[in-house]
Symmetry: C3
Subunit: 321 residues, 3 copies
């Protein structure tokens, strides 16, 4: 995505938020495949399509056969249908296809390639929307950038801290990677903060640094949560998994036992420059952040969720002819 494309999308989202655009997608259908649970993504897309006059068809793993993702596979195992055939068939019925394929297979080198999503994208003849992988969650980040823009007007040079926080389970890197890249594109001054060992993907980091520099912003990484909070105008909290122990949840859990202070509380918020508190939800209350700050007047967590529907309307209007 270029900066220009991003601005266009956000401008359209702002317009459709202000005034419903009518039945512009009348008779159109979005197919959504969920291989993991969903609340916001599912409901926000369904509401978006509905309000544009269209319709969503939702399938979960339970509704379908097991699918084979590998090319040239000799399908004598459990998988009843090839992803290729599912993608090509669905393309004959629907106008766009959303796929949530966020399973962990145990190898970061493999999971970072988003093979399943890319297989749908390769074989479908309609647009394919990423509804979250472990590597990217672009729709979440679009809603987040819209939320920041609504509050700060211009994002150029504004101080965003992306803060790792604690969580009992290993989480995907999707929201973090996507917010990082879009914030960089907007020229923000980004501080990425996490404990040692929780580095984000190297390629994403380098790409984001380059994009930030190009856009007149910056990106620094720190390993101290208090330093990270100092002077922030937006504090964006989220947990993510350790890519080094991607196949070893127990080891990650052990490491995290000493990281319980990586939690957002009033004291940390006090170090910021009256920062907006953001988190993509679902949030582990009183583990990732305290009730006090989540329910406080600087919290924008529900606006982020609400804006999902608006940016997705804009996206659907651009993607579906």
């Amino acid at each position: 995505m270029t900066r220009h494309q991003l601005d266009d999308l956000l401008d359209l989202a702002t317009r459709v938020k202000g005034k419903r655009p009518g039945q512009v997608l009348g008779g159109k259908t979005l197919g959504m495949l969920f291989f993991q649970p969903s609340l916001r993504t599912r409901v926000s897309f369904e509401v978006a399509m509905q309000q544009l006059g269209g319709h969503c068809i939702n399938l979960s793993a339970d509704d379908m056969y097991e699918l084979e993702p590998s090319e040239q596979a000799i399908m004598d195992g459990r998988a009843e249908e090839h992803v290729k055939d599912a993608a090509r068939t669905l393309s004959r019925y629907v106008d766009a296809l959303g796929v949530r394929a966020a399973a962990r297979t145990g190898t970061w080198t493999r999971d970072r390639q988003e093979l399943l999503l890319r297989s749908y994208a390769e074989h479908a003849s309609v647009p394919v929307i990423n509804l979250e992988t472990v590597f990217e969650h672009p729709c979440q980040a679009l809603g987040d950038v819209l939320t920041m823009r609504e509050n700060l007007v211009s994002l150029q040079g504004r101080k965003l801290t992306l803060l790792w926080c604690n969580h009992p389970e290993p989480k995907s890197l999707g929201p973090t990677h996507s917010v990082l890249q879009l914030a960089a594109l907007m020229g923000m001054e980004i501080t990425l903060a996490h404990p040692l060992g929780f580095e984000v993907d190297e390629e994403v980091l380098q790409r984001s640094k380059d994009a930030a520099a190009d856009a007149g912003g910056s990106l620094q990484v720190v390993n101290d949560r208090e330093v990270a909070a100092d002077g922030a105008e937006v504090l964006y909290a989220r947990s993510w998994g350790c890519t080094k122990y991607w196949d070893d949840a127990e080891r990650e859990a052990m490491v995290k036992r000493s990281l319980q202070d990586w939690r957002v509380d009033a004291e940390l918020m006090a170090r910021t420059n009256q920062a907006l508190l953001m988190h993509p939800l679902p949030v582990r209350r009183n583990v990732a952040a305290t009730d006090e700050v989540l329910d406080g007047d600087r919290s924008r967590i529900y606006d982020q969720a609400a804006n999902r529907a608006h940016v997705q309307k804009a996206l659907l209007m651009q993607l579906i002819k």
Copy 2:
């Protein structure tokens, strides 16, 4: 609910049943959360919204994360999201929210408080509709009262027998409690009949007695099914669980072994004053009532189900602006 509000709702239901009101809820969305299976509730609400020009989004427990209901919880266990956040997020997407939260936790004192439903109601900023708890099932009772009114015109002083019947499993008290209260409000002469040990909730009973007296009706409790049937104009059968053994299904099953004659059959119907036979469905055929009476010409069981859609249309038109 006051008598006046109830009459208003039933009048509106009668009007929308006679003539479809058009797209009055065009662009509106009802979110429905089902934590237990549903046939009638799910389909009747979905049809209702659709025929009013709106749309339902249905989520079951399988589609979502596990949710935490307790305030101030430190969420380091299995629950991935707090009910508070789910309710507030959904309120940003949908225009009303229906919740079926009829799980048994083992303690009647707790379950009668409908904590999960009330937590949604407290945190949502849109109207929340009870789609059944173990304590109340108001939408069922509204359809039932409409059905009685269609057959008997005025319900004032008409003889309704609410009859416990046998069932292999412990059932909720929802439909019984809700029918009891609405029938009382309508001024019916109610006989509540059940074996010793299957008393309904004391507070509901007292409230219903008071309401019946206020409305010029009455409410008596008997423990003899034949006495209960004598002269009834409506025989409303349903099983419900024993609140005393709420945590002990085996003990309840043992008690029920001697209660197999608590079943509606032609002989019992013959004691009534040509009563309408009602049951909220699903019904255990030849356990709760015989095929002969369920399929007989006094049976109104399918009208009750059909009227669910009509009263719910009226309800949605009143609740959603």
Copy 3:
């Protein structure tokens, strides 16, 4: 179905495919019950209803209570509701009902009777559509006949080979039986080819022979795949189960070990008269047919799937008033 009715339906399907017929089913609802997974059937019906202005309500076994199919049952077991009551209730809400009831119970004599589907059909007061049983899959076959007609114009006297192919699991006879009967009705010259032991249902075979003869076509059975391919203008591949070992999947699997050459490949296609390759999907790639032929320019597998939506639109327009 008569030949005349079939022609009418296909003509209507062709018309609605060329030009969307508008909101002719506005406000109408199709209820769909899936007791087995579905991709094409589910999505093609939902898209069809949507594009006609109507709506689908989908229920899977997980959403519902367990249902009792036997008449006069004393329902003191696990089933919470009788099929009779589900069918009659749903008939009060929806305008037509689709049922996928393709479970194997272990006895071919029983399963060939389609008891569950027929129970819905008997008790529902709205039209009931077969969404696949182990005995018939008429909607699939309708889409297939439309696909053949689009490619060959007239089907009279055209050479169709219905070819058994290998599959790791025992499959239903639904698509095979339904294609056989519709192709016979169209007067095609049909070769049914399968290994010894995989005979189709005798009654279906005889009925199809008679229909083919009546329509000026023919039906022969061979047990040699190469002979079957010679000169074919349509090669329709699909696996089906052995009715003799219907209750013994392991024995069927053992028999199939020596049948791995029952697979469509380029060599087999070369024996045909430039045949169209058809398969109802899902297909086991490189087991039932090779990637080369499935992805080749004679393959019509996605057209078959796409035509499901068009024939079903025609069907819905004829069934729903």
